[in-house]
Subunit: 245 residues, 2 copies
C-alpha cells in the first residue's frame, strides 16, 4: 500500500496563484475530493476520479479520503485558499482522531494563498501590521464567541480579516457584527469588502465603518477591517508598519 | 515610460512554494531589490540587475524602486513569505505617501505563502480556528503594544502566530513574551517552534507552554501558540474547527 492524502490549497481562484507543489500533487493523484465548486477547478483527466460533495459534510469527506488512502489510492483533498485556514485540514485531523488505526497514514498539508492575503494584496497592504482572522460563521461555534473575539481584536488594536461574513442561512449576523464594530471602533475606520479576488467576478470596495452595510458582503466576500492607523494612499489601502511610541 | 513595480512574496524557501504569478514577474523584471538573503534566492540572468540591501533600510529600498520605475525599469521588490505580512508592501506605501507625484505609479502586490501558514501546514493545522499574527519585534512599535496584543489575543481565545520572535539585538524580549503567556494561558498550552520551513534547515518542535524556553526561537523561527483546544493526534498538531456551545 502506498496510498497517501494531500490536503491542498487551490488559492483564491486564479491558476497563477496555485503553487507548483499543489499542481504536482494533483498530477500524481488518483482521486480528488472536496466541495463541489472547488473540485470543479480541477481539470479532469484519465485515471483521475473526482468526488465532489456538498458543503457541511467535511467529516464524511475526510473519512472517505482516509478510506481510499488505506486501499492505496493517492487522494487530494482540495480547499479554496489555504487548507489550514477555516478549511479541510482541521476536518481531516478531527476525522483522524476518531481512527487510531490510521494515525500513521501518509498525510501532507500543502499550503495555498489564503483569501485574506490575496484580498490584502489586491487592495494594497491592509494587513501589514498585527492582525487577526475570524470566521464569522456560527455553524461550529456560538455567536457569543464571535462577539468576544471581535471586542478583544478591536481593543487589542488588531486589523481584522473576516471569513464567511454572511450566507443565505445567516443573513442577520453580519449586521450585528457591524454594530459591535461601531461600538468598539471610530466611525472613520476603513473597511474593505473583497469579493472573489483573482476571478472574473472580482470586486473590491473600501468604505468607512460608518458607511458599511450588511449587503456589501456575501458568501464569496472576505472583509478586512483596518486598525486605527490604516489609511489610503493614491488608490491603495495600507496599514503602516509602525506604532509611534 | 512603461516602468512598473511588483512587490512579490517568494514564500518560505522552497521553489515549489513560489506562485507562477511571482515567477512570471521575475522573468519580466529588469531589476530586483530586497534584503540580501531574499535577493540571493533570485537566479541571476543577463538583463537583470540585482540590488541587495541590508535589513532596516526598507524605506530607502522602496524609494529606489519608485525612482527606477519612474525611468521605465520593471522592478521586483522581493520579500520572504507574503509581501503584505510584516514585509515590504507596507514599506512601499509608506514611501509612496511621501511622493504624491508617484501616486499613479504602476504597482502590483503579488501574494506568497507566508511563514505562519507554511509552518502550520507542516505541523498539521494549528491555525484551523480563529487566530492572530503578531510581530514581536519592537523596532517599530513600543513593547507595551506587544504586551497589550498578547493579552487580548489570549483572552479572546485566539491561536497566535509570532513573527520575529527573537534576534541578536533583542535576546530578552521573547523570555518576557513567554512570561506574559504563562500569566494568561494554562501550562499545558501547546507551542510550536517552526524554523526555516521548507528549507534544508527546517526544524519543528512542539512543547507545552510550561516547557517552552527562549532559546527555542531565533530569527528564522515562527512560533505558533495554540488555543485552549489545540491538541495532538498522531504526529500532528491541530486546532478543532468547533467550539462547543
Amino acid at each position: 500500500m502506498t496510498g497517501w492524502i494531500a490536503v491542498v490549497g487551490l488559492g483564491p481562484g486564479a491558476a497563477a496563484l496555485v503553487t507548483p507543489e499543489v499542481t504536482a500533487a494533483l498530477a500524481e493523484a488518483t482521486d480528488v475530493v472536496g466541495y463541489i465548486p472547488y473540485v470543479a477547478r480541477v481539470a479532469p483527466r484519465r485515471g483521475l476520479t473526482l468526488h465532489p460533495s456538498d458543503n457541511r459534510v467535511e467529516l464524511d469527506r475526510a473519512a472517505l479520503a482516509l478510506d481510499m488512502a488505506a486501499t492505496g489510492r493517492r487522494v487530494v483533498i482540495v480547499s479554496s485558499g489555504d487548507p489550514g485556514v477555516f478549511a479541510m485540514a482541521s476536518a481531516l485531523f478531527e476525522a483522524l482522531e476518531a481512527r487510531p488505526a490510521d494515525h500513521g497514514a501518509n498525510i501532507r498539508i500543502l499550503p495555498g494563498i489564503t483569501a485574506m492575503l490575496a484580498a490584502a494584496a489586491r487592495a494594497g497592504a491592509p494587513l501589514g501590521h498585527d492582525f487577526c482572522a475570524i470566521n464569522l460563521s456560527d455553524n461550529l461555534k456560538p455567536f457569543a464567541e464571535v462577539e468576544r473575539r471581535l471586542r478583544h481584536a478591536a481593543r487589542g488594536g488588531f486589523a481584522m480579516a473576516f471569513y464567511n461574513p454572511r450566507s443565505k442561512l445567516r443573513p442577520h449576523q453580519f449586521a450585528r457584527v457591524l454594530e459591535i464594530l461601531r461600538e468598539e471602533c471610530e466611525p472613520a475606520r476603513l473597511v474593505l469588502f473583497a469579493r472573489a479576488v483573482s476571478t472574473p467576478e472580482e470586486r473590491l470596495c473600501t468604505v468607512s465603518l460608518s458607511d458599511a452595510t450588511p449587503d456589501m458582503a456575501d458568501m464569496r466576500t472576505v472583509v478586512i477591517v483596518g486598525n486605527e492607523a490604516t489609511r489610503q494612499v493614491g488608490p491603495w489601502l495600507y496599514t503602516p508598519r509602525s506604532v509611534p511610541a
